[in-house]
C-alpha cells in the first residue's frame, strides 16, 4: 500500500493535473451557480473531452467539477434564496436569512470552509476505507455480486427522484437497454436491429449526454427561468463583514459531525447529497451549537448543510471503486470516464491500478485545497456569472453536446443516438420519471446478468444458490425488505389520505 501511495504522489503533483483540477472546479462553480444547470450537466458535457486526456487528469477534472458544483450551488442559495443545485436547498434556509441581515459575506465564507471541511473528511475516509473494503470485495463470488447489485438497484430506484415506483420502472428500462449488443456468453445479437454500431451495446457517452444534458436544456427552456431573473434584481445588498476565526472555530464540531453524516449517506448507493445536507441540518438543529437560531439565520445552519452535502462527493466513490457500483449519477458519469479509458472500477482495480487509484484519492485532497483558494475568488465574481444570458448559453451547450457526442467514435449515428435519448429523457422527466436510475441500471445491467448467469451455471440452474450463501442471503433479504417497506409506506400513505 505504502509503495503504491509513494508512486501516486509523483503522479499527482504535475502541472497538468493541477490545471485539470482547476478547470474542473471553475466549470463546476459556473454550472453549480446557474440554477437548473447542475453538476450532472457539466459532467455529461465534459466526459467526452476526457477521452483525449490522460486518465488521471480526465478523472480529476471530472471530480473537480463535482467539488466546484457543490460549493457553486450554495452561492445563489445564499445571495438570492435560489439554490443552484438541489443539495444547496438546505443552505438557502439560513444562508439567505444571513444575507438579509447584511452578513452574506460571512455566510459565503462559512459555506466555503464547511464545504471544504466536509469534503476533506470524506476524502480521508475514502483513502482509509477503500483499500480494506476492496480486499473484502475480492472474496465475493457471482451470487453475492448479483444480490448486491440487485439490492443497490432497488435502493437507487426507490430513493433517487420523487417517486420510488417510477424510479424502479426507470431502472427496469435501464436493465433492458443494458442487454442491447452481443450476448456475453453466446455472442449472438440481442436487440441490435441489424445496426452494426449497436453490437457493442448502446454507446454510453451519447446516451448519457442525451438523457442528462439535452433533456435538461429542453426542460429548462420549457420551464423558463423568468421568475428567477426577477428575484435577482430584488435581492438585498451584499454585506461586507468577514468571518472571524472565533466564528469558524465554533463551527468545527458542526462541520465534523455533518461531514461524518454526509460521508455515511454519500457512501450508501442511492442516497444523495441532498439527503446528506438535510440530515446534517436537522441533526444540528436538534443537538448542535446555536441550535435555537438554526432556521432563523445561523452560521451553524449554513455550516451543517454545506458540510453534509459536500461530504458526499468523495464518499460516493467508495462503492464505485470497491464494488464497481455507482451510487449516484455523478459516480455513474465518472464510471463512464473510467470505461472510455479501458479501466473497470471494482474490486480488482486496487490490485491492477493501485497507483492510479491512490493518485485519484490524493488528487481529491489537492482539489480541496484548490477549492478553498478558488472559492474566495469565485465569491467576488459570482454575481456576474448568475446573470449569464440563457438565450446564448443554451444554444452553446447544445452545440457542444453534438460535437462531444461525435468526437468519441467519429460516427454521425452517435449524435443521432444522443438526440434520441434527449427526447426520451425529456419525455421521461415530463411524466415524472427520473432518468438517473435508468443510467445506473444500464451500467450495472451487464454485471448483474453476468452474476446471475454464472451463479445459475455454478448451481446447475438452481436459483436457491442466491439464498444458500450468507452474504447473498443477507442482500436478497434486504431486497425483499426494501420492497416490503415500499409497499407498507404506500399503504400507510393511502390510509392517511383516507382519514384526511
Amino acid at each position: 500500500m505504502y509503495a503504491q501511495l509513494g508512486e501516486a504522489v509523483f503522479l499527482v503533483f504535475t502541472l497538468k493535473n493541477l490545471i485539470g483540477a482547476t478547470i474542473g472546479i471553475l466549470v463546476g462553480f459556473i454550472f453549480g451557480s446557474i440554477p437548473g444547470l447542475t453538476g450532472n450537466v457539466a459532467l455529461g458535457l465534459l466526459v467526452p473531452f476526457t477521452f483525449y486526456m490522460d486518465p488521471l487528469i480526465g478523472i480529476v477534472t471530472l471530480l473537480g467539477i463535482g467539488k466546484g458544483t457543490s460549493f457553486g450551488g450554495s452561492v445563489p442559495a445564499i445571495l438570492f434564496n435560489m439554490p443552484g443545485t438541489p443539495q444547496a436547498t438546505a443552505t438557502a434556509i439560513d444562508g439567505h436569512l444571513l444575507t438579509q441581515k447584511g452578513q452574506s459575506k460571512k455566510a459565503l465564507h462559512m459555506a466555503l470552509y464547511a464545504s471544504v471541511g466536509g469534503d476533506l473528511f470524506s476524502d480521508l475516509c475514502l483513502l482509509a476505507v477503500a483499500p480494506p473494503l476492496a480486499m473484502v470485495a475480492l472474496k465475493i463470488g457471482p451470487p453475492e455480486y448479483a444480490t448486491i447489485i440487485m439490492f443497490s438497484l432497488l435502493i437507487i430506484g426507490a430513493f433517487v427522484g420523487s417517486s420510488p415506483i417510477k424510479g424502479l420502472i426507470s431502472a427496469g428500462f435501464g436493465l433492458l437497454l443494458g442487454t442491447v449488443g452481443l450476448d456475453l456468453f453466446s455472442a449472438s445479437d440481442r436487440l441490435t436491429f441489424n445496426i452494426l454500431r449497436l453490437e457493442d451495446g448502446i454507446p454510453l457517452i451519447p446516451m448519457l449526454m442525451g438523457l442528462l444534458v439535452l433533456s435538461e436544456i429542453f426542460l429548462q427552456i420549457r420551464r423558463s427561468y423568468m421568475g428567477s431573473e426577477k428575484s435577482l434584481n430584488e435581492t438585498t445588498a451584499q454585506g461586507n463583514k468577514k468571518l472571524s476565526w472565533k466564528e469558524l472555530k465554533q463551527a468545527f464540531p458542526t462541520i465534523f459531525r455533518s461531514g461524518a453524516l454526509g460521508t455515511f449517506i454519500g457512501a450508501t448507493p442511492g442516497l444523495g447529497a441532498t439527503l446528506g445536507a438535510f440530515l446534517a441540518y436537522n441533526v444540528s438543529k436538534r443537538i448542535g451549537k446555536d441550535r435555537e437560531n438554526i432556521g432563523r439565520g445561523s452560521l451553524m445552519g449554513v455550516a451543517s448543510s454545506e458540510a453534509g452535502n459536500s461530504a458526499g462527493t468523495g464518499a460516493n466513490l467508495i462503492p464505485l471503486v470497491t464494488l464497481g457500483i455507482p451510487g449516484n449519477v455523478e459516480a455513474a458519469l465518472i464510471l463512464g470516464a473510467f470505461m472510455i479509458h479501458g479501466i473497470t472500477p471494482g474490486p480488482f482495480l486496487m490490485e491492477k491500478q493501485g497507483p492510479l487509484l491512490y493518485a485519484i484519492f490524493l488528487s481529491l485532497i489537492l482539489a480541496n485545497i484548490l477549492l478553498l483558494a478558488l472559492g474566495f475568488a469565485f465569491i467576488r465574481v459570482s454575481r456576474s456569472i448568475l446573470h449569464l444570458d440563457r438565450s446564448v448559453l443554451f444554444p452553446i451547450i447544445l452545440l457542444m453536446t453534438t460535437v462531444g457526442a461525435y468526437s468519441i467514435s467519429k460516427e454521425f449515428i452517435d449524435v443521432g443516438i444522443m438526440f434520441l435519448f434527449g427526447i426520451i429523457g425529456y419525455v421521461m422527466r415530463r411524466f415524472g420519471f427520473t432518468p438517473i436510475p435508468m443510467i445506473i441500471a444500464f451500467l450495472l445491467g451487464p454485471l448483474l446478468e453476468n452474476g446471475v448467469r454464472l451463479s445459475l451455471r455454478l448451481s446447475g440452474g438452481d436459483p436457491f444458490i442466491f439464498f444458500s450463501r450468507p452474504i447473498s442471503l443477507v442482500f436478497a433479504l434486504l431486497s425483499v425488505i426494501t420492497i416490503a417497506w415500499m409497499l407498507l409506506a404506500a399503504l400507510k400513505k393511502r390510509r392517511l389520505r383516507k382519514t384526511g
Binding site: F49, S162, S163, I165, K166, L168, I169, G172, F173, L175, L176, G178, T179, D183, F185, S186, S188, D189, R190, L191, T192, F193, I217, F218, I221, R222, R223, S224, M226, G227, R390, S391, V392, F394, P395, I396, L398, L399, M400, T402, V403, Y406, S407, K410, F412, V415, G416, F419, I423, Y426, F431, G432, G445, L448, E449, V452, R453, A490, R494, R497
Partner: protein
C-alpha cells in the same frame, strides 16, 4: 373511478412491455439463456408499472400536483415556453440529421442563429457574434488543440472543390 395521468402512463408502458415481451424480444434475441435478462428486465418493469397503475387509479401523484403548479407559474410568466422547447427540438433535430450535408461549422452557425432567435436574442450584432464565435471556438478546440478533424459537410466540400478547380 377516474384514471389519473399516472394510470394512463402506466397503461402506455404496459402496452410497450407487451410489445417487447411478445414481439420485439422473440424476434431479436435468440432462444435460450440469452433471453433471460431481457425478459427479466421487462417483467421488472411490468411489476412496478402495474403498481403505478393501481396507485394511479387511487389518487393524483405529487408529480401531477407539481405539474399543475408549474402550469400556474407559466401562466403568470407568459406562455410560449413549451412551443419554444418544441421549436428547439425541431431546429436541433434538423441540424443533427443534416450534419452530413452542412457539417458541424456551417450547420452549427445556422442552428445557433435559429435557436438564439427562438430564445429571444434578436439584436443583430450579439446574435452574429455568438453564432460565429461558438463554431470558431469549437474549431480552435477540436481542430487546433485536440487535432480532431470535424466533418465540414458535403456542401462546403463541394464549394471548396469548385473553387479549387476554378
Amino acid at each position: 373511478m377516474k384514471a389519473t395521468a399516472d394510470a394512463k402512463t402506466a397503461l402506455f408502458i404496459l402496452s410497450i412491455c407487451a410489445l417487447l415481451l411478445f414481439w420485439v424480444i422473440p424476434a431479436n434475441v435468440e432462444k435460450g439463456p440469452a433471453r433471460l435478462m431481457p425478459n427479466l428486465s421487462v417483467v421488472w418493469v411490468v411489476l412496478f408499472t402495474f403498481w403505478l397503475f393501481i396507485a394511479g387509479l387511487r389518487g393524483r401523484s405529487n408529480h401531477e400536483k407539481e405539474e399543475e403548479a408549474a402550469l400556474i407559474d407559466k401562466k403568470d410568466l407568459g406562455a410560449g415556453e413549451s412551443f419554444n422547447a418544441f421549436l428547439l427540438f425541431l431546429i436541433w433535430g434538423v441540424y443533427i440529421f443534416s450534419l452530413p450535408l452542412f457539417g458541424f461549422y456551417l450547420g452549427g452557425f445556422l442552428a445557433m442563429v435559429a435557436s438564439m432567435r427562438t430564445l429571444g436574442k434578436r439584436s443583430g450584432k450579439p446574435l452574429l457574434a455568438w453564432s460565429l464565435g461558438a463554431p470558431t471556438g469549437i474549431y480552435l478546440l477540436f481542430e487546433i488543440v485536440l487535432q480532431l478533424r470535424l466533418p465540414k459537410g458535403k456542401l462546403i466540400d463541394t464549394l471548396f472543390s469548385i473553387f479549387a478547380f476554378s
